[in-house]
């Protein structure tokens, strides 16, 4: 049996999934901070991870906590938005920003189910471990979330008034 894989393989295989989850809930620069914090914490704990664990679920659990930490510390910081300098090096495309805003408006269960199932690639059973509730409830939350997003972005009738 093969022992623990070199951590490099973990980063190569799951790095993009974790980045998508971070970007779904945080603006780009913060998402990259959360990604780096997640993998640094994971690297530290990795030698003690039970062999046979679901590595992606473990990483998403850490990323979820790091994202919450970053949001909380910003809330505590209470710096007026206007005085914060532009720190994002890579500009966030407008479509990604709009989608993130729409995700933000979803009920938390739906937002998390969409991010962990669709953007990270976790099975509903694993999503349920993170969000509480059953796998079926996670499946419904993800479906409801996607339906709401479709209504906002793919509805051909210009309901939001920005299109003529």
């Amino acid at each position: 049996m093969r022992g623990r894989a070199p951590f490099e393989e973990i980063v190569a295989e799951h790095g993009p999934s974790v980045l998508r989850v971070c970007r779904a809930v945080l603006p780009p620069a913060d998402a990259e901070d959360a990604w780096a914090e997640t993998f640094l914490a994971a690297l530290k704990a990795y030698p003690r991870l039970d062999p046979g664990s679901n590595v992606l679920a473990w990483l998403v659990t850490i990323a979820r906590r790091k994202a919450i930490d970053i949001r909380r510390s910003q809330a505590r910081g209470a710096i007026p938005v206007a005085s914060v300098p532009e720190r994002a090096t890579s500009a966030e495309p407008a479509e990604a920003r709009d989608l993130r805003a729409a995700l933000d408006d979803l009920p938390p269960r739906q937002r998390e189910a969409v991010a962990y199932h669709y953007l990270a690639g976790l099975a509903y059973k694993e999503v349920a471990v993170l969000t509480g509730g059953s796998a079926d409830a996670a499946r419904r939350a993800a479906a409801d979330g996607i339906a709401s997003l479709r209504k906002i972005f793919l509805d051909p009738t210009p309901s939001r008034g920005e299109k003529a």
Binding site: R2, G3, R4, A5, P6, F7, E8, E9, V11, A12, E13, H14, G15, P16, S17, L19, R20, R23, A24, E32, W35, A36, F39, L40, L43, K44, Y46, P47, S90, P93, E95, A96, D98, L99, R100, V114, Y118, L119, G121, I146, L149, R150, F153, L154
Partner: protein, 205 residues
Amino acid sequence: MTPRKLELPDVLAPLADTDPDTTSRLHARLAARAEQAGLLDVAYRTLDSPIGSLLLAATPKGVVRVAFANEGHERVLDELAAELSPRILAAPGRLDAAARELDEYFAGARRHFELSLDLALARGFRRSVLEQLLCIEYGRTASYAAVAAAAGSARAVRAVGTACATNPLPLVVPCHRVVRSDGGLGGYRGGADAKRVLLALEAAA
């Protein structure tokens, strides 16, 4: 290992892309943070050379492994994970000096390596053999029997052969300079051809 492919609903497309530039920038940032935090137990990189692609790996103590392509770099990394630590990242910075000195060596412009070495992968008698090998000068050769005698066990000729065959630091610890008493080339971890190339390189310089 490649990232997994996702079946994404079209509406999520704007958040689906993770471009390679961003991932490699984030990877470099992770490696730097890991080094600062003392969490980078093994750093590695590859290096192209006249005898094929080399894998170079280092602990904080020094270079711990040089591996040839015929050993299978992925397999060697798995062994390092099992024997040293799974906290392994591709992090070329720690191996800048080793890569530069090896480049110079292959160009015929370097006769001695000035690198910190970590002999953690060699124990007991094998380790004393490696220490003897470091005394064989550039361009010279020694017989397995002579190395056995120098390592303090004249009859351990076969054990010297094993120590050379399992040398975790070939090139840097010059096991290629050990040949048979009858003039035969002897084996080499990187293959007999590689050994011939190295001896010819050193004879010409």
